[in-house]
């Protein structure tokens, strides 16, 4: 029941996005623009590119997801539909899950398209570990988007919301960034062990996935 309601909300968001709001393409092209900026700033040769790649991947994903998170509640805000969503006879946790799944799907899709583009643009021959890299990225995205959607709800109705969202989200994402970059570097053969870093990502995921739905409930309480 809860899961079904959440699924309907997520479906509404994703389909609505494909039809009208096109967050997906904004995110993708923002990411590609960021890649051009990185290339211009660092001009890595092949060896440097392998070393830089983990950091570039995670930084790009982090900033790109800010684009998506700024719009998570946009549809609801425009028409005052958020109250309607809260009035629906479903638990608040279901609303959160639905919003989270919607954002997670879009972010995961962007990552899926972004990774091969990055390998091509930076001339890194790591096609063999591409699925594993995507796996690590997706694992981190689970907790990160949960935290992000929670913060998007938190900054609803705030002045200068997008800046505020970045200011609040980026410091909290530091552990994830460290763990993700180290794990990805391990996959590319430029880092150490992968296991402890994957464990750290898992801790991050478990903490935020268990905290966020309840925190969302307290937040929208009248």
């Amino acid at each position: 029941m809860i899961l079904h309601a959440a699924y309907r909300i997520a479906w509404k968001d994703v389909v609505g996005d494909f039809r009208r709001r096109s967050t997906l393409s904004s995110m993708l092209f923002f990411a590609i623009a960021a890649l051009v900026v990185f290339q211009a700033a660092f001009e890595p040769d092949r060896k440097e590119a392998v070393k830089l790649l983990p950091g570039l991947i995670w930084v790009t994903v982090l900033f790109t997801s800010l684009v998506g998170l700024g719009r998570v509640f946009q549809a609801e805000e425009e028409d005052g539909a958020f109250e309607g969503l809260l009035l629906a006879p479903i638990p608040r946790e279901a609303v959160f899950l639905g919003k989270w799944w919607g954002n997670l799907s879009l972010t995961a899709l962007v990552e899926l398209m972004l990774l091969p583009v990055m390998l091509v643009l930076f001339n890194v021959d790591a096609w063999a570990v591409l699925p594993a890299m995507f796996g690590v990225l997706l694992l981190g995205t689970l907790g990160f988007t949960a935290l992000g959607v929670l913060l998007a709800a938190l900054t609803q109705g705030a002045r200068g919301r997008e800046t505020l969202l970045a200011l609040l989200l980026l410091p909290l994402a530091v552990p994830l960034l460290i763990a993700g970059v180290q794990a990805t570097a391990a996959l590319l053969g430029t880092g150490g062990e992968i296991a402890p870093w994957v464990r750290l990502i898992l801790i991050f995921d478990v903490v935020y996935l268990s905290l966020a739905p309840w925190a969302f409930g307290w937040l929208v309480e009248e």
Binding site: L167, P175, P196, W218
Partner: protein, 233 residues
């Protein structure tokens, strides 16, 4: 609030006495044979580092109470704790940096505790920005309380992740497990300063709490005035 108004000057005078006593003890404390006179900065650095975390704990406790009981005075206390904590965090970072230059040969190193402290400062600033960015007082209180909780959950993760990542900082001077690794002659002034800083934190917190409470009363009065004017032009 009335009790707080009585408590605040008491705290202030007690803190002043302790700070004077601590200052006298520090002036008479022996120099460290390796670190020389610059060791004296730890009497400022360590207590303010403890206070920066303690104020966050205080804000967390008040935020939990607010979310649970919906008691506005808890929200006022939580709001007041944030800038005080930010102040201590800034003092910690600045004093650590000044100490780091002669000791490590650099103003800044991306070591575990420095990084965590910097993140804590950004978190404090973010909390203040969040508080002031939402006009609806109830929404603003709820959002800030939840954000304080998120930060409280994230801070240990940040700390441990950065610790795994890199560590150069010397082990903790106080309460770092087992016996303190510091001579008695240096320890006494440190403990006095620690108590003095707890007093200072309490004093500033009380001061800020009363300011916030007064500000909110003023806002409420102004709103009432506006409504009244609207009703009877």
């Amino acid at each position: 609030m009335k009790r707080l108004a009585k408590l605040q000057p008491l705290l202030g005078w007690a803190t002043l006495l302790l700070l004077v006593a601590g200052g006298w003890l520090i002036a008479n404390a022996p120099m460290d044979f390796q670190q020389g006179n610059s060791v004296r900065i730890i009497y400022l650095h360590v207590p303010s580092a403890k206070m920066s975390l303690l104020m966050y704990l205080a804000a967390t406790a008040c935020s939990v109470m607010y979310l649970w009981k919906k008691n506005e005075s808890m929200d006022i206390l939580a709001e007041a704790a944030v800038p005080v904590g930010a102040l201590f965090t800034a003092v910690t970072l600045a004093s650590g940096s000044i100490w780091g230059k002669p000791m490590w040969g650099t103003w800044w190193a991306w070591d575990a505790r420095l990084t965590s402290m910097l993140v804590l400062l950004i978190l404090y600033v973010g909390l203040m920005a969040l508080r002031s960015a939402i006009d609806n007082p109830v929404k603003s209180a709820q959002a800030t309380a939840v954000m304080v909780l998120i930060g409280a959950v994230d801070l240990p993760i940040i700390h441990f992740s950065v610790q795994w990542w890199r560590t150069l900082h010397q082990p903790a001077s106080l309460g770092g497990g087992g016996t303190p690794r510091i001579e008695g002659a240096l320890l006494t002034p440190l403990l006095v300063m620690a108590v003095a800083f707890i007093g200072l934190g309490g004093y500033l917190w009380a001061l800020r709490t009363r300011t916030v409470a007064a500000q909110r009363q003023l806002d409420a009065l102004e709103h009432a005035e506006e409504d009244h004017d609207d009703a009877h032009p």
